[in-house]
Structure formats: structure tokens, C-alpha cells
């Protein structure tokens, strides 16, 4: 240590950070593995699952709907001038429909849910860990991993695709509203054009992708909360890092999903 220059210190710090990163990834993988092991083995916490589904699905609907509506509105308003310049304003439903169903709908919904749900889970499980509620559960004969983690991850995985469906629909409605007011396109014509433009190759990968998004949100939120360190500060950190990590992972998953979909299109 005596001969260690600042350079060596930085090196060791960087080294520790890199090590920490890999340890995190490893722990997360182990956590995911434990989820898959426990999700299929009884007992099943069905009532808690329903409660979590309600919490994450129904109670996120307003937020997701509002965001979707605004996105649809803004996307249409922003693209109008350009499309008018090209004389292609009648292609608006096709463009907006495909971009929302394929990409914007799932990603925006997932990001909103990462903000709402991942942080919520992180904070909730974090505080439960800190106040020994998780230990109390363990002691009282309930597997807290099953009761808290499995139900939450399952709930996000199942609810997110549904939220995406609602989000997509509301976003398209917002877009149709603009076209209806500004461009005299009837709702029927708008949605006819949208459904004409879409095919199963747009809808199905987006839906599958949404399941993965939901899984990532639940997994990261639970992971950060479940292994939150002692103290109330740890709860805040857990909530914060859960959002950051979940958002980051969402984009990575999105990239992989697009990549895989692309390969399937090529085939």
C-alpha cells in the first residue's frame, strides 16, 4: 500500500466496481433461477398473486392509459407536417399504428411500469427486509420467496402484456383523435387502415416481448428489494437502483427481441 500511487488506487477501485457488476449479474441470474425453480413447485400463493395482479395491473392502468394517449397524440401531431410535405398524410395510420404496436407501446408502457412498479417493489421489499418482516415470514412457515417474490414477478409478467394492449389502444385512439379533428379521417377509416397495415408479425413479437419486459421489471424490483442492505437508506437505494437497472435491462431486452424478430423475418 505504501508504494501505491493514485493510479493504483483508481485501478483497484475500478477493479472492485467491475467485480461488483459481475457479482450483481451473477446474483441476479441466481435469483432468476430460484424464481423458475420455485414458481412451479407447490404451495402456490394464489390469493397473493391476485392481489399483486390487482396492484400492478389495474392500478397502473390510469398511468399507462394517460401516457399512451399523450404519446399517440404527440406522435401524430409531430409527424403531420412532414407527412403533409411528402403528400403522404393518408399514411399516418399505417405509420403510427406500426410504430406504436411494434415498439413505442411496449417500451413506453414498460418504462412507465419500471418507474411505478419496480421502484414500488424495491421499496416495499426493501423495507420489509430492513424491518425483518421477511424474516418474520420465514419463521412463521411461509416461504417469503414464494409469497413475495414469485407472486410479484408473475404478476408483472402477466399484467404487462395486458397493460401494453390497453396502452396501444389508447395511444391509437389519441392518434385517431388528431387525425379526426385535423384531417377529417373518421375513426372507422383510421382503425381500418391501422388493422390493414398490421399483421401478426407485428402483434405477436410485441406481445411476447411484453412478457419479457414484465418479467424484467418484476425480477429487478424484487432482486433489489429482497437483498436490500440494512437501514432505511438501503430502502431508498433499493428503489432507486431498481428503476435504473430495470430501465436499462428493458432496453437490452428490447434490443435482443428486435434482433431475434429480425432473424425470424429473414427466415
Amino acid at each position: 500500500m505504501s508504494d501505491s500511487s493514485p493510479n493504483a488506487l483508481v485501478k483497484s477501485k475500478t477493479f472492485r466496481r467491475i467485480k461488483h457488476f459481475f457479482v450483481q449479474i451473477g446474483d441476479l441470474s441466481y435469483f432468476a433461477g430460484r424464481f423458475f425453480k420455485e414458481v412451479f413447485s407447490p404451495p402456490f400463493e394464489f390469493r397473493e398473486l391476485l392481489r399483486q395482479c390487482y396492484q400492478m395491473g389495474v392500478l397502473s392502468l390510469f398511468l399507462v392509459g394517460l401516457t399512451g394517449f399523450i404519446i399517440g397524440l404527440v406522435l401524430t401531431l409531430q409527424s403531420r407536417p412532414t407527412l403533409i410535405e411528402f403528400g403522404a398524410v393518408s399514411w399516418m395510420p399505417n405509420m403510427v399504428g406500426i410504430s406504436i404496436v411494434r415498439e413505442i407501446g411496449p417500451v413506453i408502457t414498460a418504462l412507465i411500469c419500471a418507474g411505478r412498479i419496480a421502484s414500488g417493489i424495491g421499496a416495499e421489499l426493501g423495507s420489509m427486509r430492513v424491518t425483518e418482516q421477511i424474516d418474520a415470514m420465514e419463521v412463521s412457515g411461509t416461504n417469503p420467496f414464494k409469497y413475495l417474490v414469485v407472486t410479484r414477478i408473475l404478476a408483472t409478467t402477466l399484467m404487462l402484456p395486458l397493460l401494453v394492449v390497453f396502452g396501444d389502444l389508447i395511444a391509437l385512439y389519441g392518434s385517431a383523435l388528431v387525425e379526426n379533428i385535423k384531417g377529417n379521417v373518421s375513426f372507422q377509416l383510421y382503425f381500418n387502415t391501422v388493422f390493414d397495415a398490421l399483421n401478426w408479425g407485428d402483434l405477436i413479437p410485441a406481445t411476447i416481448k411484453s412478457f419479457f419486459f414484465g418479467f424484467v421489471i418484476g425480477l429487478v424490483g424484487c432482486f433489489k428489494g429482497y437483498y436490500s442492505t440494512k437501514g432505511t437508506a438501503g430502502v431508498g437505494i433499493a428503489a432507486n437502483t431498481a428503476v435504473v437497472m430495470a430501465s436499462l435491462f428493458l432496453f437490452i431486452v428490447d434490443f435482443i427481441a428486435v434482433f431475434v424478430t429480425d432473424i425470424f423475418y429473414e427466415l
Binding site: G57, P161, I204
Partner: protein, 325 residues
């Protein structure tokens, strides 16, 4: 407990609504691509698919009735396109309907238009092959125009060169023009041709006038026709015709000899034959002659059939028969 029930009720509504929306969307999308309900398959052969893809729409009289199923390359100029058409269109499309590839607007995707045929034919059945019309795509048109343009540019450049060398007395034609003997010969020949064709034309127009007057007279007052005068005139005309035709024969013989000479191995003539302008002129002349001859023949035929001259020609025939006998 009541709270939980309400929560579960809301959750149930949420899940059922979401799932049914998703399924409805999937159904609507699938329905538009005829994934549900009865379809039948027909096909058409095209020379050029023009960027047609699987899944493109098929329209019958402007209504979307199906999609393109499969595009198969049979050989380099034959592309077999399979289409699946909704079952309820079976009662409308007939066997003589024509398929053509078009596009949905200027920048739209490609589609197949099926246009009803004019005739009364039986209705289409599964597996039928439709007639197809290949419309020239905009791109093809543009590329053809391009080629034409390029050729025109080349031609003008060549022409410029030729005229330049001509004025400077260079090149084959220049030499040819300088060769006074040959030039006068050629001039003579061409003049002869001109004369021949001119006289032939003149004769023919005269004859035409004759025939028309005859027709006119026949139609108005055929009985009033002065037979003797007409007959004499007729004979004279025909004599003229004979004369001109013999002249024509002579001309063409002369021409033949010239052309033979051209085809021959004489060095400068070979040059000439390669000279496009001259050959073109020659061709024009030949065409004029041919036209003249053809018209002449036509007139002759007309004469033969005319009731006034029929007797004369019959006599001629008899004479000929006697002679041959």
C-alpha cells in the same frame, strides 16, 4: 373481505377486457389477411413480378378479395403467382378474368388487380389459372426512355462526325461524292428511279380518277355512259399502263444491277453500302417503288373486276390461253 372481492372483480374485468382486446386485434388482423374463413386458390403467370410480395392484396374490381400466397419462379421469364381468394368471391369471378400487377398509389405497395372479362364464361374454380397482362412498370418505361436517350445522343454525335467528314471530303461518302463519274451515275440512277416512280404514280392517279368517275357515273346514271368513248379512253389508259410497267421493269432491272454492284466486292461500293445515309436513301427509294408497284397492282386488280373493263381482260386471258395452247 369485501375489499378483496371488489379488487378481484376489477382485476377480472381488467384481465378479460385486455385479453379480449388482444384476441380481437389478432382476429381483425388475421381476418384481413384471410387467415380465417374459406378461401380458394388461383394462380396467374407473369413475366415480371414488379416487386410483388407474399401477403400483397388481390383486388377484384377494386375490392380487396384476397392475398398473394406464393410467388414461384418457373423460368427466367415465367413467374407463377398463387393467390388465395375469399370463398364468397367464387360466385363473381369468371374464368376469363384478367390479372395484372399494379400498385396502390404512386408509392404504395404492389397488388394484383383482377379485372372481369367481357365474355360470358363459367365461374372460376379452385386451382384455375387466370390470363395475365403485364403492364409496363413505370420504372421500365423510364429505363427504356433512358436507353433511347442514350442512343439518340450517340446518333447525333455520329451524325456530327459524318457531316463534318462529309464537308471536309473525308471518309467513304466524301470520297464517293468526289468521284464525279460514280456520283453522276448514281444521280442518273436515282433520277431514273424518281422518274419511273413519278410516271407510275401519275398513271395510277389518272387511273384512279378514271375509276372513280366510272363509279360515279355508274351510281348516278350508268345507262348514260358513252360506251365507245369510254372504251377508247380505257384502252389508251391501259396501253399507258403497260408502257409504264415495262418501263418500271427496266428500272428495277437497272436497280438490281446497281444493288448487285453494291453487294459486290468493289472496294468503294462496299464503303458505300456501309454508309448508312446512302443505304437509307436507297431503301426509301425501294420502298417508294414497292409502294407504287403495290398500288399499281391494286389498281390493276380493281380494273379487272370493274364491269366495264371485265370484257377486255377476259379477251386478254383468252388470247393468252390461245397463245399458250
Amino acid at each position: 373481505m369485501a375489499k378483496t372481492t371488489l379488487e378481484n372483480l376489477k382485476l377480472g374485468i381488467f384481465v378479460i377486457l385486455g385479453t379480449s382486446l388482444l384476441l380481437t386485434a389478432a382476429y381483425l388482423i388475421g381476418n384481413r389477411q384471410n387467415m380465417f374463413g374459406g378461401t380458394f386458390n388461383i394462380s396467374a403467370v407473369f413475366k415480371n413480378a414488379n416487386g410483388l410480395q407474399n401477403g400483397n392484396n388481390v383486388r377484384f374490381s377494386g375490392i380487396n378479395v384476397g392475398t398473394v400466397n406464393k410467388i414461384e419462379m418457373l423460368n427466367d421469364t415465367t413467374i407463377l403467382v398463387y393467390m388465395s381468394i375469399t370463398e364468397n368471391m367464387k360466385g363473381h369471378i369468371k374464368k376469363d378474368a384478367v390479372a395484372m400487377i399494379g400498385s396502390d398509389g404512386l408509392v404504395g405497395s404492389m397488388l394484383i388487380n383482377i379485372v372481369p372479362g367481357a365474355g360470358v364464361t363459367p365461374l372460376i374454380e379452385e386451382g384455375d389459372e387466370l390470363e395475365s397482362v403485364s403492364k409496363i412498370a413505370t420504372q421500365d418505361m423510364i429505363s427504356t426512355l433512358n436507353v433511347t436517350n442514350e442512343n439518340a445522343a450517340l446518333l447525333t454525335a455520329d451524325l456530327l462526325k459524318v457531316t463534318q467528314s462529309l464537308t471536309k471530303g473525308k471518309g467513304s461518302l466524301g470520297r464517293l461524292l468526289n468521284d464525279t463519274v460514280m456520283a453522276s451515275d448514281l444521280q442518273q440512277t436515282i433520277a431514273n428511279f424518281k422518274y419511273a416512280s413519278h410516271s407510275a404514280n401519275k398513271t395510277l392517279s389518272e387511273l384512279n380518277g378514271m375509276v372513280s368517275t366510272i363509279n360515279f357515273k355508274e351510281s348516278t346514271a350508268g345507262v348514260l355512259l358513252a360506251d365507245t368513248i369510254s372504251a377508247r379512253k380505257m384502252r389508251q389508259t391501259i396501253d399507258n399502263l403497260e408502257k409504264s410497267s415495262s418501263e418500271l421493269e427496266q428500272m428495277s432491272k437497272e436497280l438490281n444491277s446497281v444493288i448487285n454492284g453494291l453487294n459486290g466486292k468493289n472496294s468503294f461500293v462496299q464503303y458505300v453500302s456501309k454508309d448508312t445515309t446512302l443505304v437509307f436513301q436507297l431503301e426509301r427509294t425501294m420502298q417508294n417503288i414497292e409502294q407504287g408497284t403495290a398500288r399499281f397492282n391494286e389498281n390493276m386488280e380493281a380494273l379487272k373486276h370493274n364491269f366495264l373493263t371485265r370484257g377486255y381482260f377476259r379477251k386478254l386471258e383468252k388470247k393468252e390461253k390461245k397463245n399458250t395452247n
